[in-house]
Each structure stands twice: as C-alpha cells, then as structure tokens.
Assembly symmetry: C2
Homo-oligomer: 347 residues x 2
C-alpha cells in the first residue's frame, strides 16, 4: 500500500493525502479524518526511503561501536546504553543504525555513513584522548553527541559524561578515610578518556593526603573479569600488597572478588573494593545495601539522555551545543571496611 494507491482509493490527490497525514493546516478536518481512517485500515506507512529522498532526512541515527579486533571485545555497557537510546528513538520515530567496527576503521565508516546519507546524526562512543573522530564529524557537518569527553579537543562539541574524576576522587577519599593507604587501582585502557579522568581523580585524592603513588599498583587494561582476577592475584601475592582496590567496572570487580576469596581473604574485612557501577541490568549490584561499594551511574539513562540531546540538535542544528555532566553518587556496600590493623598474610 503506497500513497498513490491510497489516494486513488480515496479519490483524492497524493498531495492532499500526504498533507492530511503530516498534519498540514490546509486540509479540512473532514478529509483529514477520512484519510487517517483509511490509512489505518490499510496499515499504510510511508516508505522511509522515498520520504527520506524527498525530505533529505533519513530519520535514522548512527551508532558506531568500537570493537577491539585483537580481543574481539565489545564493551558490555553498550547493550544497556543502546537500549536506553533506542527507547528515545522509538518514541520519536527514528531508526537506529549500528556499525560495529574495529577502532582502525572508524573514520572510514563515519565518512561512508555521511556520504551515503544513511543517518541524520551520530552518537560517538568510547572517545579517546584527543579523539580524531570529533574534528572529523565536525568537518562532515553531521550533528553528533559524544558519550564521554575527549581531553585535548580544543573546540566545543556536544557531550554527555559522568563526572569520573569527582567520582573516583570521592571513592579514593572513602578508602583513605577507612585507613587504607595501599590502594591498587585497576583502570580501563588509559587511552580512553574516561580512564584518564578516573586516574586523575584517584591521583588527586591520593596527593591531597600527601600519599605518593605506587606505579606497581596501578594497572590499565580492557575491563574483563580475568583482568581483575589476574591483577588482584598478583598484587595480593606480592609483599606489601594493597589492602584496597579501586576498580573501573563491576565485571573487573567480580574478578577481584574471585581472587580475594580464592586466597582465603574476606571482602570488606581483609580487603576493600570500590568499583564504578554502570548499573547493568543483568549485573545489578543491589539497591539499598549493595554488594560492592560503588560509584553508580546508569548507562541506560545516559543512553536515553544522549539520544534526546542528539534529536534536539538534529531538530535545531543552530541551537547552542549542549553538554551534560552526570554525578555518580558513591553508594556504600559490603565490600568496604576499615583497613585491618595487621597486614594480611601474603600468599
């Protein structure tokens, strides 16, 4: 069922039918009703491609998800982020087109999406320090919103980010307040901007108390369970190992917990752990009394908001750029406690 058929059915011109359906004022109310009714009855939906061709808009938003080809790794937060964003798109009649591509191929993909006219705007995921994609998107003239930020980018751009530095500083402060001094820091990959900021937060808090950093207790890797496990195991075995861990994701924290328990230690008593918690649906950390003490920020909400910001920007391209900084509250759970008076037995 297309416009032509529908309008000949109704004995009206395509113009009138199109206008009736798109809410233009120069159509009598009676006709509009008649048209709407017929459209419903025949389950008529304007063809997206034709509509797009005529209007010059695609009613679609692109998400280019970076994947590490080396590890075949895709960050588990994307599912939830996209699910949140998808809600917003669905509510506004937008489609979401997804490309999952290796870091190296990203610029090419952006160029292509633009040249092919597949999308009206983009969400940029996983920004690194001085991310080259930001100037690229600006040059391409596609509206975009960055999930995260990119230090080193001079010009303004739209972004939505968690206040990672503040959150990790606060978390560090709590550990310090509890008497911990040897704090291991298991960060994400530090070419990622968010990881850099978390590190800054951690270092700032440590230095504020006059503590010096121990590079041997700071790591930076892709955030997997086994990264947490291996690191914790190694660090805890070493003499003068950490009494607390500051960790970048619940998945990594689960690995840390495994190591801790395997060594016969007790979480929250012998070893404290604070993690960032993206509030993933399948990995809920508990509500009132969470398992892990954590800085929490729902990545699904972030998806919803980022999508809305992008749609606003598409609707009003000349409106000023928007930015949004979300605070991540620190929720105390069962994984933190005062620093034990005696050093735990190494090994």
């Amino acid at each position: 069922m297309n416009l032509k058929e529908l309008s000949s059915h109704l004995g009206l011109s395509q113009t009138t039918v199109s206008r009736a359906l798109n809410g233009y004022p120069e159509v009598s109310e009676a006709t509009r009703q008649r048209v709407a009714e017929a459209a419903r009855r025949h389950n008529y939906r304007p063809n997206t491609r034709a509509k797009g061709l005529a209007t010059g808009r695609s009613m679609a938003v692109g998400h280019v998800i970076p994947t590490s080809a080396r590890h075949e790794m895709v960050n588990p937060i994307f599912g939830d982020f996209i699910s949140g964003a998808g809600e917003t798109y669905a509510a506004n009649g937008y489609d979401m087109v997804l490309s999952m591509v290796d870091d190296a191929d990203q610029p090419q993909v952006y160029r292509e999406l633009k040249a092919k006219g597949s999308v009206d705007g983009m969400i940029l995921h996983g920004p690194s320090i001085a991310d080259a994609r930001i100037p690229l998107l600006r040059e391409l003239g596609l509206p975009f919103v960055v999930h995260g930020r990119s230090s080193g980018e001079a010009q303004a751009y739209s972004w939505l980010d968690v206040n990672n530095a503040a959150a990790f500083a606060r978390a560090t402060d709590l550990l310090l307040d509890l008497g911990h001094a040897r704090i291991a820091f298991l960060n994400g990959l530090e070419k990622m901007d968010f990881a850099q900021r978390r590190r800054n937060g951690f270092e700032r808090a440590m230095k504020a108390r006059g503590l010096k950093l121990d590079p041997g207790q700071m790591r930076s890797e892709e955030m997997t369970e086994s990264y947490g496990y291996q690191s914790a195991k190694e660090l805890l075995r070493a003499p003068a190992g950490p009494t607390a861990f500051l960790v970048s994701s619940v998945i990594v924290a689960i690995g840390v917990r495994r190591a801790v328990q395997e060594m016969g230690l007790v979480l929250g008593r012998d070893i404290s752990v604070i993690t960032h918690d993206d509030d993933l649906s399948y990995l809920r950390n508990g509500g009132e009394h969470p398992l892990f003490t954590a800085t929490r920020s729902s990545v699904r909400d972030a998806g919803r908001m980022a999508a809305q910001m992008l749609l606003d920007q598409i609707a009003a391209p000349d409106a000023p750029l928007m930015t949004r900084l979300l605070e991540a509250p620190l929720l105390v759970g069962q994984s933190t406690g005062p620093c034990p008076p005696l050093q735990h037995a190494a090994q």
Copy 2:
C-alpha cells in the same frame, strides 16, 4: 557529490557512470577506469535512499531485540551476537538497523519495518515456544533467520541454534557420573525455547538413570547474577540441598559461586557447577583449563553465521530454507569434582 555532478564532471551520462560503478559489462574498460578514479577522488558514494528507492532494496537488515520492560533487562549476549553479525554485514555492504523494544510491542515493530521498507530481512532473537513472530514474518514476506528455534511451529523456517538439549544432557551426565544425584537446575525463563530445550536435556538425562526430578530444585528466571546468588543461597541452606548446579549462563554461575563461597564451601570440591558459556568477550572462562566446567558455544560466531545465512536468503529468496545446529562441547574446568561423601553442613 552525487551522480549528476560526477557524470557532468566526467562528461558522461549518469547511465554510463552508474553502470561503470556497478560493474555492468557494456562499459569500455577505459571509461570504467576513468570513472572509478573520479569516484574515488571525489569520495563518491551513491545515496542509499535513492539507490534503495530505485532498486527496491534497502541494503539493511533489521534486528529486533526483545527487552523486558519490567526489568529493563537486555540479554548480555546480544552485544556479542550483534558484533559477530555486524562483521558479516560490513563485509557485504549491508547496514544493520536495531530496534530494542518490549516483548509486547514486537509484532507492531515488525509490521512497521516491513511497511516502511526499512529492511530487506530480519534476524529474530529470543524465540519463545510457538513464537507468533514466525508466522507473522512469513506472512509479511520478509526473509528471516531465527537465532534459536521455536517448538510448536509447524511450518519450516530458517534457523541457527545450539543443540541445547544435547549439551545439557551431556552436562547432566557428567554430574551424574561424578556421583551427584541432587542437582539443582537454574534455567532461563522457560517461555524461551532454548530454556525449554535445556530443561528437556536435563530431564532426559536424569530419567535415563532412573532419578526422579525434584521440582524444588529447579528454577527458571531471567539470567542475572543475583538470580544465581539468591537461588544458590536458598537451595544450599535447605536440608538435603543440592551438591551440584546446572546453570544457564556464566553470569548466573558467578552468582552461584558467590553464594557458595559466602557459605564457606569450595567450588569443585563441596559443590559442583556446570554452566552454559556463550563465550562472551568480557567474561572469558579461560581456554585450556576453564574456571567453570561449561558447555561452550560462541554467540559471536553464531551472529556471524546467522547473518550470512540471512544474506544468502536475501540474495536467493527461492533457495531452500537453511537450518544449522551447532554442537556445544563440554569443557571440563575447575568447578566440578566428585560428589563429596558426606553431606555438607547445611547453613
């Protein structure tokens, strides 16, 4: 840069340029070179919508991901599945359009994608028993491939599935061989077809040894960490609790592990656990000597394959339907051992 501009640049007609770029034979080799070169220089990409309108194909594939609105839950395997599928699409010039919608809205979304002509085919995720979406898609006339199967669907359709029944029967057999008799079964939601099949495998293996099923030790829930934790905790506290767990996903198994350890028991000694392992990138279960004994099947590979099956079907709609059953080998890890002679202390 569009066709018209490009061809006037070259002093050729749009016809010739279009044909040169699409590999038609009636273009001289010299012209083809010249055109290709110019296209490259100007970074020309045919506009997707225009091309789609002219050809009647959209060069896009739809994935409709079911989300449980109630739990804001999206199955964590989708990220990896889609990442695998995305590889295949990218290699073949297809886009992927994603809708994340509540179960209840699914039929409407399929109808709409068809009516709007947004996609040339679909992957159907998370089939339930007698899933109504299968007849719907058939009726709509869209090529589709099901990830999983749907018992109760009479007519043929394309699918790609793991042999869940066999895998879970094999896993159960191993536990029984190790002397376990009280085996708790933490299944996924049993309205899901895969969960039903896993249950069948489990029950078949139990009955084959003349064991009767204990409904009190069989559960069925959305596969979260806390589901595993809560269930294990409750079951292990009860008198005559299980000595082994058969579990539907690594996430759930992690919850079980937490409960086991919290109760002072040792995994692989006091309590055995076998789980299904989708080989998620951020939750690798270890290669040679895995942490969990598991039936393993890479959901990323499944994505790759399902996507290829769909593209084949789009290319040759009249070819016979394809189906593919993947076996999931049982890899022995550290979470299984002989049933302990004495019952472990309850609580």
